[in-house]
Amino acid sequence: MAQARPATLARDLATRAPPPPVPREATAAALLAALAASLPFLLGWLSIAANRLVSPRPVSLPLHGGTGLGAACFVLGCLGVALLARRRSLLPWAEVTAGLALLALLATLGLGAGAALDGGARLARAAPGAGFWLAALSLLLSAGCCAAGRDAAREGEAAGATPTRFLAVAVPGIVLLVASGVLDPLSLMREAASRGPELQAALWRHALLAAGALALAGLVAVPLSLLALRRPRLEAALMALANGLQVVPSIALFGLLMAPLAGLAAVWPALRGWGIGGIGAAPAVIGISAYLLLPLAAGLLSGLRQAPADILDAARGQGMGEGAILRHIRLPLGAGAMLGGLRTAAVQAVGLATLAALVGAGGLGAIVFQGIGQLAADLILLGVLPVVGLSLCIDAALAAAQAALAPAGRRG
């Protein structure tokens, strides 16, 4: 009677349909690519103003050999995105093609601006038209769609829909285009050229502010998170503080920090020598780091908790100490989640550093707010575009690192 108990058949899992031949992402990617291809023609590539004071009006793209070739490349690129996205294995190439299409769009714009201004008044200014901006956004989103599909197939959830390949093509390409001088006729580039050193200094200052705030927040968050791992009340207090700070508007927090710091500097004038005062880098760095506490601490704690209880139990059973467990088990298994927290924090730091200009800390925000004050679109763009570029690049780089780490973390 040893076999009297009948074999219970395996649980019937819901029958899953095999993956459809055309990936789900194809529709959205193709739609966006089509939108990108048509928008510059519908809404205008360029707008021209006779001088700085009059408002710009859209003009049609002056067609000649260069612009014709560029526009043709751009439209072909968009078509390529739509076609390549129809095969799952080709999605990465669709993403790369979207990057190439963006470069063609930019080159066409630069050539078109040069032709439109040719022989015109020296004061005339050429700016990208609404069609250009929306087409660039559509291409970015289309690349994101391709990235979402590619990730689901191979690299797991970590990188999400971050278009790393798109940026890997577009960013060096844009640097090359700028260096080659194709874009020089654009008023934005003229503005950049006339403010060259100022822009460069602001960029460094911006990066320094963000990095300083990230370091300060790390100095607070890392020891507190390690302590909070075993003390639920400390954890509750830490997370309540970090969450509460998140709600305070950044502009208000910077303002509120000015008063006590000004007071400190008044009591101990020596502090001014270290740059601590009501105005300047100190309130900005402290204020920014306050907002980074939440992503950093949440990422760290969730990373430290990635190791399942039975693995920790087994490790303790083999005689590992808490230090060894941290080094050999918690850190390797949680690296992905911790990197995720760092990623969120780094992107927020770059964004918040823009507001630091309000309390006199400088950075790219100074250019943005100067532009807002003067209602000068070019100046705003000159400040904002590097912020956006920096955020996108940091996010994509850390997303790629996270994706590379994730499988190692899952093997445990």
Binding site: R24, A28, L31, L32, A130, W133, L140, L141, G144, C145, A147, A148, G149, G160, A161, T162, P163, V247, V248, P249, S250, I251, A252, L253, F254, G255, L256, M258, A259, P260, A262, A266, T344, V347, Q348, V350, G351, L352, T354, L358, V359, G360, G365, V368, F369, I372, G373, L375, A377, D378, I380, L381, G383, V384, V387, V388, S391, I394, D395, A396
Partner: protein, 237 residues
């Protein structure tokens, strides 16, 4: 919903906030204390209640529109075979990697300056947390519950209205909460773009090197944001 006991401290805080707004012009000594060099520490260019009203019009108005758009978009995106989902994923990833300040600053040259464009930028940005909350909430409804609901013969609209939305409500509300806080905070930045609100004293104070104005504006903006957050947390329970 009857007024629960938990709402009492919130109402007390709101009353304290309004009282402080009323008392602010009479507290010159308090505002001036940390800034001895400032000649006129009391903000008197515009009434506090007018600023509060404008701030609420701007941020709450933006959130109401954003909530309608986000909820509708989220429901649409989760119907059918989810062909719009990759677009949403790409949008969320982009929104996560582009800071709100940058997005609003980018929108200004395209949309123009003043209260109306600030509002439009706020709507566009506040949409995203609501949209994300709606999609996450609807995704979180257990497939078995949906299967059972369809199996009992509920129509698609009834399943959405009686099963999916009630179950997704906590997640949608937390998205709404993020949108409200984001909107109140970012409306203050709108003062830079010419929208009058509680951020105006901050901007004016920074421009004229008047720390006392900044202190008052910062205090009331932060207080308002905390109050709104508490109120929505209460609603979400």
């Amino acid at each position: 919903m009857r007024l629960p006991r938990r709402a009492v401290p919130l109402l007390a805080q709101a009353a304290a906030f309004l009282l402080a707004l009323w008392a602010a012009p009479h507290l010159g000594a308090l505002w001036g204390a940390p800034f001895p060099d400032v000649q006129r520490p009391v903000w008197d260019q515009r009434g506090w209640f007018a600023l509060l009203g404008a701030h609420l019009m701007l941020s709450v108005g933006a959130v109401v529109i954003a909530a309608a758009l986000g909820l509708g978009g989220g429901i649409l995106a989760t119907r059918g075979q989810g062909r719009l989902r990759p677009l949403l994923d790409a949008l969320f990833a982009l929104a996560q990697s582009v800071p709100p300040i940058a997005a609003i600053a980018l929108a200004l040259p395209l949309l123009g300056f003043g209260a109306a464009p600030t509002m439009l930028a706020l709507v566009l940005y506040a949409c995203l947390p609501v949209l994300r909350g709606t999609v996450a909430g609807l995704d979180g409804v257990a497939p078995a519950v949906l299967d059972a609901a369809r199996g009992t013969g509920m129509g698609a609209a009834r399943v959405l209205w009686q099963v999916e939305l009630p179950l997704a409500a906590p997640v949608i509300l937390s998205g709404l909460r993020v949108a409200v806080v984001l909107s109140i905070a970012t409306a203050a930045v709108g003062a830079m773009a010419g929208a009058e609100c509680l951020g105006t004293p901050i901007v004016v104070g920074l421009a004229n090197n008047n720390g006392a104005y900044v202190l008052q504006g910062g205090l009331f903006t932060a207080w308002l944001a905390l109050l709104a957050d508490r109120a929505l947390a209460l609603l979400a329970r």
